[in-house]
């Protein structure tokens, strides 16, 4: 493979991987963030305990979290094909990513919110804040640095999932590594793909850490 073709292949793969990762992460957060918040709010020490909801939602999250991503993707492929018309390629993979990642995101969010000082929540209650105000103005803002760190971890995990999805015709960098690096015995392509992935992970981690530190007013 000449350099030009390889470059084109890799840049297409990178764009696909980034698309799957970023869209996947975004939608996972749209689902996982409220679920994570709800798990804290309805928990035994939450501001509005609701044991039944908490148990059921916690169970669903745990079940999906315990399925390995590849198995989950294969198991759900027929349904994804039914819904979006195809079982392979960028969008099918993105759908599978969201399905697997939202419970992970919910747990990450839950962990971050657990770090919020209960005393501050109590102070807000004493001031007459509604539960919605406490969630928006106290919990999410006080946990912001931790949530951002968590988002970096989540994004990197989803990037990893998307690369795995490549083995099932999912597109992106993982797809390239499998098709060229593995099936066609081109270790140079394999290693270049790995290097691109490492660079992407580094960039995401660095952005996450810096953003979290910049947004954290506790350390000065």
């Amino acid at each position: 493979m000449d350099t030009g073709t390889l470059f084109k292949l890799l840049s297409e793969g990178t764009v696909q991987t980034l698309t799957m990762t970023l869209v996947g992460t975004l939608v996972s957060y749209i689902i996982g963030l409220p679920v994570g918040v709800s798990l804290i709010v309805t928990g035994p020490n939450g501001i509005k305990p609701a044991a039944v909801y908490n148990k059921i939602m916690g169970f669903i999250v745990n079940v999906i979290r315990s399925m390995p991503f590849l198995i989950l993707m294969i198991a759900f492929m027929p349904y994804i094909r039914k819904i979006i018309g195809t079982g392979i390629g960028t969008w099918a993979t993105t759908a599978a990513l969201i399905l697997a990642a939202w419970p992970f995101v919910a747990r990450m969010v839950e962990q971050s919110l657990l770090e919020v000082d209960p005393g501050v929540i109590e102070a807000a209650q004493a001031m007459g804040a509604s539960n919605m105000q406490i969630i928006r103005k106290v919990m999410l803002l006080e946990a912001r640095p931790s949530l951002l760190n968590g988002a970096a971890v989540a994004t990197i995990t989803i990037l990893g999932y998307s690369a795995m999805a490549g083995t099932l015709g999912g597109g992106g960098l993982g797809d390239i590594a499998i098709r060229f690096g593995h099936y066609r015995f081109q270790p140079d392509v394999m290693w270049i793909t790995i290097i691109v992935l490492v660079v992407l992970v580094q960039i995401m981690q660095e952005i996450g850490i810096r953003l979290a530190a910049k947004m954290d007013n506790r350390i000065n």
Binding site: G119, A123, A126, M127, R218
Partner: protein, 356 residues
């Protein structure tokens, strides 16, 4: 006719724990008048924090009523409760400031909750920073402030909603003595100048002495004694109260040499007698020796108070003369039996009794 701003009626609080039911508060009845600075004192575990948290219903009482300005808070929906809560501010031992907001932002918080327009809110928050003497720290974050400064921000935040009551839950317990004094004097100024009622939870007698006009002593989830600070201090009826009023009572088990001394009296000096050289005059007048075992002077809201444990002459006749002299001078005293600690005994004429 004084107006009751807070009334607790038959408030009981039980917690379900693994070890079974724990009764934290037992049939508490408490009336707090507008403008009071009401101290609630007790040792840790006595239930005082639970008690203050039932006032704004952070703790839902198992039984009984909490009445604020003639309306019962118990049984209200969250919307109505939150409306009342804006008039009952609270400050905490650990300050509980929002770590991600600066001092000004923290003071703005209750104003945002109440939907006060931004410009007006900022103006008010800036004024409150001046009240607590922190204008130059408006844009400092809590992590950059000292404990005393954090509590000042918390006080400004408490004032922002124009409250009628401020609940102080061990507000100075995390602060050093000097900072404690300045916070207490700020609170007292707020009580006196703005007429805001204070409910002060503490385990330190010093806080009550500097800040409160009324006091309730809580022990084992019950109020065992209450009244004007002056009265409770001069004539504590229960052992719990006496223990608290001896500042070093925890370790004041007197050494044997001193508990074995006979003919001991506990004297209490009030405003009229605190400045007189009573003991030296008594020695001059009676010509009999006095053994001084313990003495302590205190200020209650700036009024001088003192207590002393002395041993009278071994000569019975001489001791009677000495007692007569004390009665003439108007000094209240109690006789203390041999081998017991002085706080075990109530003042002359007051029997040990639990409040009904």
């Amino acid at each position: 006719m004084a107006e009751h701003i807070i009334r607790l009626q038959g408030v009981t609080k039980e917690f379900d724990t693994k070890g079974g039911k724990v009764v934290a508060l037992k049939d508490i009845n408490l009336d707090i008048e507008r403008g009071d600075s009401y101290g609630i004192i007790g040792l840790s575990g006595a239930g005082k924090s639970t008690l203050v948290r039932t006032i704004n219903l952070l703790e839902q009482p198992t039984e009984g009523k909490v009445i604020f300005n003639d309306s019962a808070l118990t049984g209200l929906g969250s919307r109505d409760l939150n409306r009342h809560r804006r008039k009952i501010s609270m400050i905490f031992q650990q300050f509980n400031l929002l770590m991600q907001r600066d001092a000004l932002g923290n003071i703005l918080f209750p104003l945002e909750l109440a939907g006060v327009p931004k410009q007006e809110a900022v103006k008010k928050a800036e004024e409150l920073l001046k009240v607590v003497d922190l204008e130059e720290r408006a844009h400092s974050y809590p992590s950059q402030l000292s404990g005393g400064q954090k509590q000042r921000v918390a006080i400004a935040r408490a004032l922002a909603s124009d409250p009628e009551v401020i609940l102080c839950d061990e507000a100075t317990s995390a602060l050093d003595p000097k900072t404690t004094r300045s916070i207490l004097s700020l609170l007292r100024k707020i009580n006196e100048e703005r007429g805001i009622t204070l409910v002060v939870i503490t385990h330190e007698m010093g806080v009550i002495k500097q800040l409160c006009n009324k006091v309730a002593v809580i022990e084992g989830g019950r109020i065992v004694e209450r009244g004007d600070v002056q009265d409770v201090f001069a004539r504590p009826k229960t052992k719990a109260a006496r223990k608290l009023f001896f500042p070093d009572s925890e370790d004041s088990e007197l050494p044997e040499a001193r508990t074995a001394v006979r003919n001991r009296l506990r004297l209490v000096f009030d405003e009229k007698t605190a400045y007189k050289p009573i003991i030296s005059n008594m020695i001059l007048a009676t010509g009999e020796p006095v053994n001084l075992l313990y003495a302590n002077m205190d200020a209650l809201l700036d009024e001088q108070r003192g207590q002393m444990v002395i041993a009278l002459s071994d000569n019975k006749e001489a001791a009677e003369k000495q007692k007569a002299y004390l009665i003439k001078e108007g000094v209240a005293f109690t006789e203390i039996e041999e081998d017991s600690n002085y706080y075990d005994y109530p003042l002359h004429g007051f029997r040990e009794e639990e409040e009904k």
